[in-house]
């Protein structure tokens, strides 16, 4: 038996291809939306992986340092390093801000990393070009997504830094590229005020009668000095010794240091479950809307194609064609349309949409397979209206009168 659906598609291939193209662009957008969500999740995981930490020690009762501001003293890490099960502990600061470049400014997550070297928690795990930070001040390592190049000078607050190394896929959970600078510079940048503000603060402090104590010489100078310093960091990253349970180490820190500690699993839950939860819901809603629109389009197209063949269907039924052959004709056409749409969608999402999208778009093969299954299911479902009409066609319509 010949394939009636195949012959019909070959006969009117232009109609199918152009319809498939339109549907494909819609499917491409759907795939891209799923890819954006996957990209957001991957960004979050990469951020955690890149930190090289097993535990995040943050200000008590906060969700810091990524989901909520957190501030702890920068000498806490010394006490943590001496606790059982702790292999390494390092301060870290995060500040999302515009970084001045020769072309203007790029929004980046400026990360202050503690002195040490590659392998220290918080340091970028690998570089794609250049070298790690070796000086105590004014050197930076930037992610390639920032568009910065080796040797380029960047402006963070009032200081100029030289980009000495480049990383790849080191981004914040929001997709902003990371720029690593020495911890002291980052601490200063977090609290640094402009000259007018500093002068105004000193004047107000000097005029405060509480600090004008004749019996306490040097009090005013000490207070002024403390106001200009920043002894805080956002978190301490802790690496647990091999063979120790991170949860047990975290429990000990919580108990003795009275700080909040998150394990990798908990931090992932904060980033994915809380930080990008709203975006996930928005994307899911978009996916539902796109699926409904796609269904409506496929249903309309298959309905129109079937209505254009009512006389042929009547003839086919009159000459003894079984219902399942006619149902097969319509269903196969719907599936063919879905397949063309999926192929076009996959190509457009991979080659057209993902590369130009400003956020990281991660297209997983599993998502593509799921999308194909959903598209096929939608096409089958959408063809039911046309099938119903075809089955209701009276073979007598082929005979006049």
């Amino acid at each position: 038996m010949i394939s009636l659906a195949g012959r019909d598609i070959m006969h009117s291939w232009g109609k199918f291809v152009f319809t498939g193209l339109g549907l494909g662009l819609l499917i491409g957008i759907t795939l891209s939306m799923a890819g954006i969500y996957r990209g957001m999740v991957d960004d979050a995981k990469v951020l955690l992986d890149g930190s090289g930490a097993d535990l995040w020690v943050v200000q008590k009762d906060t969700l810091g340092p990524y989901a909520e501001p957190s501030s702890i003293y920068d000498d806490v890490w010394r006490g943590l390093r001496g606790m059982p099960g702790v292999e390494e502990a390092a301060n870290i600061t995060y500040l999302t801000m515009p970084v001045g470049t020769r072309d203007g400014a790029v929004r980046a997550m400026v990360t202050g990393i503690a002195p040490g070297g590659p392998g220290t928690p918080g340091w970028p795990p690998h570089l794609v070009a250049g070298r790690p930070i070796t000086r105590g001040h004014y050197e930076a390592v930037a992610d390639v997504a920032s568009g910065l190049t080796l040797g380029e000078s960047i402006q963070i607050r009032r200081h100029t830094y030289t980009v000495v190394g480049l990383t790849r896929r080191m981004v914040s959970s929001g997709g902003d590229p990371m720029v690593f600078i020495p911890l002291k510079d980052a601490q200063e940048a977090q609290f640094l005020k402009d000259n007018d503000a500093i002068r105004e603060q000193r004047r107000r402090t000097a005029e405060n009668p509480a600090f004008q104590r004749p019996g306490v010489p040097g009090l005013l100078e000490a207070i002024s000095a403390s106001q200009g310093a920043n002894p805080y960091v956002n978190a301490v990253l802790v690496r647990v010794k091999a063979g120790h349970d991170p949860e047990e180490v975290a429990a000990a820190i919580r108990r003795w240091k009275r700080l909040t500690v998150y394990t990798r699993y908990q931090m992932e839950d904060i980033l994915i479950g809380k930080l990008i939860a709203t975006s996930s819901r928005q994307i899911f809603l978009f996916l539902v809307i796109l699926s409904v629109v796609s269904s409506a389009i496929v249903a309309f197209i298959i309905y129109t194609l079937t209505m254009g063949k009512i006389r042929e269907i009547a003839v086919l039924k009159l000459i003894g064609t079984k219902n399942h052959t006619i149902v097969g004709l319509i269903m196969k056409q719907a599936l063919a349309l879905g397949l063309i749409g999926f192929v076009v969608g996959k190509i457009s999402a991979t080659l057209l949409m993902a590369p130009i999208f400003p956020k990281y778009v991660l297209l997983l093969p599993l998502d593509s397979a799921l999308c194909l299954a959903i598209v096929m299911a939608i096409c089958l479902l959408s063809s039911t209206v046309a099938i119903r009409i075809a089955l209701l066609v009276d073979p007598a319509e082929a005979i006049g009168g």
Binding site: M1, I2, L4, R7, D8, M10, H11, S12, R311, E312, V315, L316, K317, L318, I319, G320, T321, K322, T325, D394, P395, A396, A398, I399, G400, G401
Partner: protein, 235 residues
């Protein structure tokens, strides 16, 4: 009554019920012998199409008897379980317009019927090609229906009606869209095929050009048939 061909006795068809009931056929009698082409003529609303639909097992008569060859197919109720198979294997249709399947080439338009009956593709195409040659359209075997002239399309439609070697062909105004020469050519073909394949053919027509070509004519008026011996002229 002939033992083969088509036999109809007292066939009735009523549409609706009660006061709205309409008797479209009020007791039709008709016999068509194998190899014979008979005309069925009548004005609009006379019951021609209803009779054709009953004969084609598309609608169910209300009463009467129909036999095809030695088999009674209707006697107060359908005596055949699978009406689709009956239409596919034992009744050929030729319509006013050819109604060829636009996405199948000429050969496959004809070969589709035996394929639907389970005949292997190669065998079905062989049968179709032979028949198309016999109908003088063999040279257009690979053409699509849209590439054929009206006369060629109608010959392909006749080939489709004949391909399963049905004992009866129902032709519904097959010459309506054709000019005189082509119309007569189609009737000549139907006569040739009836003789060649021993097929009984009923031609419903309004076409005065071809009416004289029938040996026997059934007039139908108000749901009743009257037989008239035709003054047969060679088409």
């Amino acid at each position: 009554m002939t033992p083969r061909g088509l036999r109809i006795q007292g066939l009735k068809k009523r549409y609706g019920s009660g006061d709205a009931a309409v008797d479209a056929l009020k007791g039709v009698d008709m016999t068509v012998a194998p190899g014979e082409v008979v005309g069925l003529i009548g004005p609009s609303g006379s019951g021609k199409s209803t009779l054709l639909k009953c004969l084609g097992a598309v609608i169910e008569p209300t009463a009467g008897k129909m036999a095809l060859g030695e088999d009674v197919i209707y006697d107060g109720e359908w005596k055949v379980k699978d009406l689709r198979a009956l239409r596919r294997d034992r009744i050929g249709f030729v319509f006013q317009a050819p109604y060829l399947i636009p996405f199948l080439d000429v050969t496959d338009n004809v070969a589709l019927l035996p394929m639907l009956a389970g005949v292997p593709n190669a065998e079905a195409r062989h049968r179709a090609t032979e028949l198309l040659r016999a109908l003088d359209v063999g040279h257009r075997a690979k053409a699509m229906p849209s590439q054929l002239s009206g006369g060629e399309q109608q010959r392909v439609a006749i080939a489709r009606g004949l391909v399963n070697r049905p004992p009866i062909i129902l032709a519904d105004e097959p010459t309506a869209p054709l000019d005189s020469d082509r119309a007569l050519a189609v009737i000549r073909i139907l006569n040739d095929m009836a003789r060649q394949f021993d097929t009984a053919i009923v031609v419903v027509t309004h076409d005065e050009k071809i009416i004289p070509t029938f040996k026997r004519i059934y007039h139908i008026r108000d749901g009743v048939t009257y037989e008239e011996a035709g003054q047969r002229r060679t088409p």
